[in-house]
């Protein structure tokens, strides 16, 4: 490690999202209610480019917080606004929140985006963009994917699919194109200017069915950057959307077997470290891989670094890493959270 800082949240979170002005959001996911959404100011040392050792402020500060009756599984900041959107059980609706840090430190609920027949549906996956207006792309299955304008909560687009296949993630590629990832592995590139029929599908890697998949995209390099998919057995495939027929590369992450449930599977590209991605959700560790050396053989890859902090120490069952995210500017800084409420910020030495 170059640096390691451990914090303890009052309640575990399964999301770590960046909001504006380098704020970090976390939220509780307890079924019994009383969940808190917290917007945190990271310690000043994280904002500096160079490590400073013993800096004046090493702590996170809770800047504002809100209360949610329902578990919060997903949260996204709506760019260019002071709004947040969240989603979670028991249905596929999306909650809208207002963060107004000036006059009050309470994150207020300002509305809900309810979709038709949303009850009983799995929870919605969400993505946000502020192109012509602040939009949230949301849906829990292929047939209920829509885009809603956040401030007026008006529908602006509905994908026309009839397929009831469950989604594991979605992302905006640009203001007219979205990428949907099905839980069974299929990717769909949706052009919102065209009817559903024109959707380009990227199939699940051959012969690998019965697993659960999630994906990672990289905001800044939409068209050109490969999409990574991670399966619940640890298989990673990289696909270039421009040449979607053949996967670019694939490898197998070293995961314990039998694996844990695919509840917290998470894969993400490093925004400032070319070709690097991180994988978590199988146990109490986070793996970092350099994909530049990968080929299409699918053999086991050696991680560049493994963060074991969450699994070390404490008694009882080791916790599961529930979420991780990269620091947007510092190349090797990662934040990770686990089911025991721990929140780690770490940075490793380049070998």
């Amino acid at each position: 490690y170059r640096e390691l800082h451990t914090f303890e949240l009052q309640a575990p979170t399964r999301l770590i999202e960046w909001a504006r002005d380098s704020r970090v959001c976390v939220a509780g996911y307890a079924q019994c209610g009383g969940n808190e959404i917290l917007q945190l100011i990271p310690p000043p040392r994280l904002q500096a480019k160079e490590a400073q050792g013993l800096c004046p402020e090493r702590d996170f500060k809770v800047e504002c917080g809100g209360f949610s009756k329902h578990p919060v599984y997903s949260l996204k900041h709506v760019p260019d606004t002071s709004l947040l959107v969240t989603s979670g059980p028991p249905d596929s609706s999306v909650q809208v929140w207002q963060v107004s840090a000036e006059d009050s430190d309470v994150i207020k609920s300002v509305g809900t985006i309810v979709t038709e027949n949303s009850t009983g549906q799995p929870w919605a996956k969400i993505a946000t963009i502020s192109a012509r207006a602040p939009w949230v792309l949301h849906g829990s299955t292929l047939d209920n994917v829509q885009i809603t304008e956040v401030q007026l909560r008006k529908n602006v687009y509905t994908a026309g699919s009839q397929d009831h296949e469950e989604l594991s993630g979605l992302a905006f590629l640009d203001s007219a194109t979205a990428l949907l990832c099905c839980a069974r592995g299929r990717l769909c590139v949706v052009d919102m200017r065209q009817p559903w029929g024109g959707t380009q599908a990227v199939p699940t890697p051959a012969g690998l069915h019965g697993q659960r998949w999630c994906m990672a995209t990289l905001c800044a390099h939409q068209g050109s950057h490969p999409v990574a998919r991670l399966s619940s057995t640890g298989l990673l495939t990289l696909t270039d959307l421009r040449k979607a027929s053949e996967p670019l590369a694939s490898a197998r992450a070293r995961v314990p077997s039998p694996g844990a449930a695919a509840e917290f599977l998470c894969v993400s590209w490093a925004p400032a470290l070319r070709g690097c991605l991180a994988v978590s959700g199988f146990d109490g560790t986070v793996h970092v891989y350099d994909t530049q050396s990968w080929d299409s053989s699918g053999r086991e890859a050696e991680p560049t670094f493994v963060h074991k902090g969450h699994a070390v120490g404490g008694s009882g069952d080791p916790p599961l890493v529930t979420a991780h995210t990269w620091h947007p500017q510092r190349p090797r800084t990662v934040l990770s959270a686990a089911s025991d409420g721990s929140l780690h910020v770490w940075d490793w030495v380049q070998p």
Partner: protein, 590 residues
């Protein structure tokens, strides 16, 4: 920075008693703003008359720094309560600070050494969990607060109303002190510090690891590490930390502790061993935990020795004395390091170098160039949001009041507390008055006879349901008694008056009086099956204790007048009977 800044001074009025909690000095100001504004207490009149007592929670200057000013310069002669360690250590810190403010900075409107001594003469020391009677009605009790040696949380009780003031406290134990603890005392109000309420702290382990890493690195490359500390407080914590590390890593570089400092610290920790944590007490039996193997007494001359070393020296902000002397010697070498262990007041060298200044003007216009590494760390022990919730859970107050240095918005924490504990949460600003409404309970003795009698009436008493009872409340001197009316009359020497109601009901009945009476009797007997209805030989009817007599109307033989007569006690039945009879009699059959 500066989460240790602020002066604490709270005035509580409870059941007619006025208590002042803490009397802190704000170390960021150089004028009278550093003292609390005592005119809030009373505009005229003597403070001694107005205040019933003053309580000091611990020896940090932002909690006791203004005490000599308050008691000797503003004027207060009443009792001042604090724990034994606080009483022992306060005067040392006050004198230290006085010396620097007056001697070094040359200020005039400040208390003198004699004032500190006179002030401490007014102090009454208390033990933990000892109930102290301030006067007949006001009592106080101290609870362990962690944080620093001798720090306490105080419960202030008058009758059945109580307030708990936390001072500064810590809910997690550290290397030399335990965690704060309070019982389920259910005060009407809990006043808690909340400066760290919005902080999610970096784990102590990481902090310590980084501190040790820095010290180790410096010592490995032959540099010297200066750690300015206050006489007591975090210094002991860091000593234990370094000693353990040196032992584990088998390091040879010497560690020094300012002379005078070690003895003093050892003396107080030995004296107040019960105030430290379990581990220290256990080890103390074998050896004095504060007698270190690797840490030795410092001599001024050592500062010039070549080679690596670590030195703990006072005072903590590099504002004078030995630590400043050593700093001047070592500042020019970039291999050396100074680690500031806490907040530094503006104007001190510590504050300047932490702000990034690298050229300092010393006395005699000398410029000191600072090439040594400057680091800061904070090991202060305060409760965060989780800790505050834990304390509220332990004490179960009916209301919570949070005090904090800055006027930050803490709506979120307020709502969190209100939602989780269903209590009111207040966050007043300086100078603001907060009123808490309480439900005082007044104990009343009830006479056994009355209790038995009232309990026998009506349904069986149910513990969960309130039962209405009738009695007379006698208030004599300070005793309250509930007795039966008869007994009250007897005790007061009053004659009992009987109240009787009589009502006339007219009934159309041409028959003879005794026939009417019979009709009435049969009617009532049929309707009032649960009551005792009797036909007396003298021609009257009784229903329980109610008397009914029939007479003919003086002018109209066809009308009979029924006289219904009842006592006040039978009001209900009497009214009922009257309205029943007014409805008329049923036609007799056959």
């Amino acid at each position: 920075a500066g989460q240790d800044v602020g002066r604490s001074c709270i005035l509580v009025s409870i059941a007619g008693k006025n208590v002042m909690l803490d009397c802190g000095m704000h170390m960021g100001y150089n004028d009278d703003r550093r003292f609390p504004d005592f005119s809030y207490i009373t505009q005229n009149g003597r403070l001694t008359d107005f205040l019933d007592c003053v309580i000091i929670s611990h020896f940090h200057l932002d909690h006791c720094g203004a005490l000599p000013y308050f008691s000797e310069m503003v004027g207060y002669d009443g009792p001042i309560y604090m724990t034994h360690p606080t009483k022992a250590i306060c005067p040392i810190l006050l004198e230290d600070y006085r010396k620097i403010t007056v001697d070094k900075k040359g200020e005039t409107n400040f208390f003198t050494s004699q004032m500190i001594k006179d002030c401490m003469k007014k102090v009454v020391a208390v033990h933990l969990h000892q109930t102290v009677q301030v006067d007949e009605e006001l009592e106080i009790k101290a609870y362990y607060a962690g944080h620093v040696l001798g720090a306490a949380m105080f419960q202030i009780k008058v009758g059945c109303e109580s307030v708990v003031y936390t001072g500064d406290y810590n809910m997690t134990p550290d290397r030399h002190l335990g965690a704060a603890w309070i019982d389920k005392c259910r005060p009407d109000l809990l006043i808690s510090e909340s400066t760290y309420a919005t902080t999610i702290r970096d784990s102590k382990r990481c902090r310590e690891r980084d501190f040790l890493k820095k010290v180790h690195e410096t010592v490995e490359r032959g540099g010297k590490v200066l750690i300015p500390v206050f006489a007591l407080g975090r210094a002991q914590e860091l000593c234990i930390l370094l000693e353990t590390f040196w032992e584990r890593m088998n390091l040879k570089a010497p560690i020094y502790f300012s002379t005078g400092l070690t003895e003093k610290a050892n003396h107080y920790y030995k004296l107040f061993i019960t105030w430290t944590n379990q581990k220290i007490r256990k080890t103390f039996v074998q050896r004095n935990m504060f007698e270190f193997k690797h840490i030795k007494a410092f001599d001024r001359a050592f500062a010039d020795n070549p080679g690596p070393m670590v030195v703990f020296a006072t005072p903590g902000m590099l504002h004078a004395g030995q630590s400043l002397q050593i700093f001047r010697k070592w500042a020019g070498n970039e291999k050396n390091m100074v680690i500031m262990p806490g907040y530094c007041v503006q104007g001190t060298v510590g504050h300047k170098i932490l702000s990034g200044q690298r050229k300092l003007e010393m006395e005699g216009r000398q410029i000191l160039e600072v090439k040594m590494q400057v680091e800061y760390m904070s090991f202060s022990a305060h409760a965060d949001a989780k800790g505050i919730m834990q304390l509220i859970r332990q004490a179960e107050p009916r209301n919570v009041l949070l005090v904090h240095g800055e006027a930050k918005k803490m709506e979120f924490l307020k709502q969190k507390i209100e939602q989780e504990f269903h209590v009111n949460c207040y966050m007043p600003a300086n100078g603001e008055t907060t009123t808490i409404l309480t439900n005082p309970s007044i104990p009343v003795d009830i006479s056994l006879g009355l209790l038995k009698r009232e309990a026998a009436i009506g349904p069986v008493p149910d513990a969960k349901k309130p039962k209405l009872m009738h009695g007379t409340l006698l208030m004599k001197d300070n005793s309250f008694r509930l007795v039966s009316p008869e007994q009250a009359l007897k005790e007061l020497g009053l004659a009992e008056h009987q109240l009787r109601f009589t009502c006339r009901v007219h009934i159309q009945d041409p028959r003879k009086e005794h026939e009417t009476v019979l009709r009435v009797y049969n009617h009532l007997k049929g309707v009032l099956k649960d009551y005792s209805v009797q036909h007396l030989p003298d021609g009257s009817i009784t229903v329980e204790s109610i008397l009914i007599q029939a007479t003919a109307h003086s002018e109209d033989q066809g009308t009979k007048v029924l006289l219904v007569s009842w006592t006040y006690q039978d009001e209900e039945l009497g009214s009922y009977l009257t309205s029943l009879l007014k409805k008329g009699l049923p036609q007799s059959t056959a």
